[in-house]
C-alpha cells in the first residue's frame, strides 16, 4: 500500500544520527551546567532586578556576581556573558550542536511523513519522534527571547532518552493510518497535544530547577553548588508558570478538540474512556496548579511539586494508558 520504504529507512538513519549529535550536545551542556563560569544575575530578566529584596546569599566568595545593576531593556536579549566574562563556551557549542541535531531530527520527521504521505503522528513511535522535535524547537525559540540554556542538559538528555525508546520499545514500521485515525481532526487535536506536552515538559524542568535553587538559597548544601549560577528561584518559578499557563491553554484546546473528534468518531463527546479520564486528570491537576499559585499558604516549592505531579500524569497518560489500559484509544501501533 504505497509506502516509500526507502524514505522510511532514511528516516530511521536520521534518527540515529540526530541521537548521536544530541548525546554530544548534552555533554557540552553538562559542562556548562556543572562547571564553568558564574551566570550573571542579569540573565534572569528584568522582573526581579528592581526589587531590593533580590540580593540573595550565594556562595560566599561570589556574592558580587549577583549585584549587577538592573538591566536596561536591551539586555533581555540573550546575554551570553556580558563582555568581560568568559563566554559560556560549553553552552554555545551545546546550542550549536542542538540546532544541528534538531535539523537532522526534523528531517527524520519529514522523511517519515513523506514515506507514508500523511501526518507523522499515527502511532506512539511517530508521536514521540514529533513531540521530541517540537520540544527542541520550543526550547530553541524560547532561548531567543530568554537565555534558558541551563536547561539544555535535561532537554537534550530527555530527547535522547525518548528517541531511544522510540526506535526500540515503541518502534512501529511506516504504514498508512487506520480508519479510526483517518480524519482531519488528527491534524488539529494531536499536534496541539504534542505542543502542550513539550511546553509542560519544559515548565516541569524549570520547576525542578526552581526547587533545587530554592534549596540552594536556603541551605546551600555542597551538592547544589552548581545551582549558584542559576537565576533566582522566584524568576525560575515565574517562568515555569508562564510556560505552564500557555501549556494549560493548549491542553484545554486539546481536550476540547478531542471531545469534538470523539463525537464524530464514537457518537458521544465524552464517555470516560481511559484516555479521556487521564486527559481530564491532567487538566484538573494543572488547574489546581494555577489555583495553588493564587492561594495563600501555598509556597512556591509546594506549587512546583504540583507542577511535577502534573507532568507525571502527562507522561503516565502517554505511556501506561496507551500501552496497558483498555480503551478506544488503542492505536499505539504496538501489539
Amino acid at each position: 500500500m504505497d509506502v516509500n520504504t526507502d524514505l522510511a529507512m532514511w528516516s530511521n538513519q536520521l534518527i540515529i544520527s540526530a541521537m548521536i549529535v544530541y548525546a554530544v550536545a548534552m555533554i557540552f551542556y553538562a559542562f556548562d551546567l556543572f562547571g564553568g563560569r558564574e551566570l550573571k544575575q542579569t540573565e534572569t530578566g528584568a522582573a526581579s532586578a528592581a526589587k531590593p529584596s533580590n540580593v540573595r546569599r550565594t556562595n560566599r566568595k561570589t556574592t558580587t556576581a549577583l549585584l549587577d545593576p538592573p538591566q536596561t531593556e536591551a539586555s533581555t536579549v540573550p546575554t551570553t556573558g556580558s563582555g568581560k566574562d568568559k563566554p559560556r563556551r560549553g553552552a554555545r557549542i551545546g546550542t550549536s550542536l542542538l540546532i544541528l541535531a534538531g535539523v537532522l531530527h526534523v528531517a527524520a520527521v519529514l522523511t517519515r511523513a513523506l514515506s507514508v504521505m500523511r501526518v507523522p503522528w499515527g502511532n506512539m513511535m511517530e508521536y514521540v519522534l514529533t513531540a521530541t522535535a517540537i520540544t527542541v524547537i520550543v526550547f530553541l525559540i524560547v532561548n531567543v527571547k530568554k537565555d534558558i540554556r541551563y536547561l539544555g542538559t535535561i532537554v537534550a538528555g530527555g530527547v535522547l532518552l525518548c528517541l531511544g525508546l522510540a526506535i526500540t520499545v515503541f518502534y512501529t514500521p511506516a504504514a498508512k493510518l487506520m480508519p479510526a485515525l483517518d480524519s482531519y481532526w488528527i491534524a488539529i487535536h494531536v499536534p496541539i497535544a504534542i505542543l502542550s506536552t513539550a511546553l509542560l515538559y519544559i515548565s516541569a524542568i524549570l520547576a525542578v530547577f526552581q526547587i533545587l535553587k530554592a534549596a540552594h538559597e536556603n541551605k546551600d548544601p555542597k551538592w547544589l553548588r552548581f545551582m549558584r549560577r542559576m537565576p533566582a528561584s522566584i524568576d525560575l518559578e515565574r517562568f515555569s508558570y508562564t510556560i505552564a499557563a500557555v501549556g494549560f491553554i493548549t491542553w484545554t484546546f486539546t481536550l476540547i478538540a478531542g471531545a469534538i473528534w470523539a463525537e464524530v468518531a464514537w457518537s458521544r463527546y465524552w464517555g470516560w474512556d481511559s484516555k479521556e479520564i487521564w486527559t481530564f486528570v491532567v487538566w484538573v491537576i494543572y488547574a489546581a496548579y494555577l489555583h495553588a499559585r493564587a492561594t495563600r499558604g501555598w509556597g512556591p516549592t509546594k506549587v512546583a511539586v504540583l507542577n511535577l505531579i502534573g507532568i507525571a500524569t502527562v507522561i503516565f497518560n502517554f505511556t501506561v494508558v496507551n500501552m496497558y489500559f483498555n480503551g478506544l484509544h488503542s492505536y499505539s501501533g504496538l501489539s
Binding site: D182, S183, T242, S267, V281, A288, H291, A294
Partner: protein, 556 residues
Amino acid sequence: MAKKTTDKKAGSSKAAVTLPQLGFIGMCRWAWRQLTTMRVALILLLVLAMAAIPGSLLPQRIQDPGRVNTFLESNGAWGQFLDTIQMFDVYSSIWFSSVYLLLMVSLIGCVIPRSAQHWKAMRSAPPKAPKRLGRMPGYETFTSASGSSESREAADQNFLDTAQARLKKLGYRTVRNTDHVAAERGYLRETGNLVFHIALLVATLTMAIGSLFGYEGQRILVEGDTFTNSLVAYDSFDPGTYYDADNLPDFRLKLDDFDATFDDQAPGSQFGQPRTFDAEVTTTADGTSEKHTLRVNEPVRVGGAGVYLTGNGYAPEVTVKDAKGQVVQSGPQVFIPDGGDPGYTSEGVIKVPDSAGAQMGFVGVFLPTATQNENGELVSSFAGPRNPYLVMSGYTGDLGLDDGTPQSVYTIDAENMTEMTDSSGNPLLIQLTEGETQQLPDGGSVTFDGIKRYIAVDISQDPTQGLMLASAIAVLLGLGLSLFIPRRRMWVRIKDGQAEVAALARGEDPMVERATKDLAKNLTEEWANDSEGRAAGHRIAGDRAAGDRAAGETND
C-alpha cells in the same frame, strides 16, 4: 469545648476564632465561607483528579458491562465490595458526584461575589495614587523642569495632559487628579476569568442535561438491510431519563454496500491493520433519499440524529435443510469478530427453530483467511476474505426459545440439546469453504453459500451539543483572556517639574517594569519635543490634550 477554647491564652487565639459557639445557622455560614475559599476549591480540585482515576483502572458499566461481570465473577467478595462502593460506576457514584457538586457550589459561591465586585470595579474610576510611589514594582522618576517658575504650574498640568492622552492611547482608563493621573487597564482579565468559570459551570450542567434528554441506540445492518427508525428496530436502546421515544426522528437507512481494506504490504505489527471502512448507505427522510458514504470519522446526520459507524464484520450466508430436504434456514448470519484478533476470527451461531425433526443449533467460527499455524491449528491470518472457512458443530434438541426468557441471538444454550455425531460416534465437525455443502447425520444438510458484510452503527441524539460547544469555546476564550491580559495600574505624578511614573501589576504581569520604562521614556521624549517646539506647536498640543481630558472625564 467552648470552655476549652475560651480558656486558651492569647497565643492560641486562632483556634478560638475559628471555633466560637456557633448555632446551626452559624455553622452553615461557616461551612459556606470555608467552601468558597480558594484553599478548599483547590483541595476539591485535587480530590476530583484522584476520584477520577479508579474509573480507568477498573472496568466501568457505562463502557463495558460484560467486562464488569467477568471481573465480578473472578473476584468474589473483593469484587462485591468494590461494587458496593460503586467502583464500577465511578462517574455516577455518590462520592464522585459529591466532589464535583461541591466544586460547583464552591464555584457559584465564588463567582457571584466576584462578578458583583467586578461589575462595580468596571464602573468606578481608577484609584488615586498612593503616597509613596517609589514602592511600586515599576517605578521611574525624572525631571521635566523647564521654563520659568511662574509657568511651572501650567507646565506640570500640561505634562499631565500629555501623560493622560498617552495612557488613554495605550488602552488605559484614566482619571485626572490634581497632581497626578491614575490609570488602570486589563479589566478584561477578570472578565475573562469570570467567563471561564461560568462557562465551566454551564458546561457541567449541559453535560448532565444532555444525558437526560438524548438517547443512544445500536443496530447491526447486513448489506441490503434497511433500518426504519423506531424503538423495535434497535438491537439496544438507551434513552435518557426524560427522553420521549415518541419523538424519534422519522427516517430510514439502507446499507447498500460495505467495503473494507486491510494492509497487506506493511511489515510487522502493521500488517493486516485496517485501512478503510466505507459503508455506502441511502437515507430517506421527508420523502427524499440521499446517498452517503458512512465512515468511522464521518457520521451521517439525518433527522436530527447522528449515525456513526462503530463496527463491522462478516455474515456468512448459510442454508440449512432438514431431513425432508426443506429449506428451514437461509440467509446471512452475523458472526462477531474477536476484538483482539487482527485476523477477524469471528464467532457466531445459527438457530433453526422450525424443522421437520427436533430444533437445531449450530455454533461455530468463521475464518476470513484460514491458515494452519505452526501447531497445526486453524487460524485466520488476515482480515480480508482470502480463504474463507466456516467451522461449526451442530446440536439438536430444545433451543429454549419458547419459554419466553430473552436470550442473546449470538449464543446458544446447549443445556437441553445433544451434539450431533458423525457415523463413528465422534462429535460432528462441519467444515465448509464457500459454496460447499455438508450432509447432516439425520439427512439434512448445511451449505455455505457466500459472504456478506455487516456494519454496527450507533444512532444517537443529543440536543445539547450546540450549547456544549458554545460553552467550550467560552471556556477557552475566557481562559486566554484571564491568563494573558495584563491587569495593571499606573500613576503619573508631577510636582515642581519632578515627574514620577509607577505601575502596579494585579495578577501575573511580567511586563510591569517594561511598561513603566516605556512610558517614562515616551514622556521624556515628548517633553523634550514639546520644549523645543514650544513657541510653535505648544498651544496646539495643549489644546488637544485638554480636549482629551474633557473626554476622559465623561467616558467610561
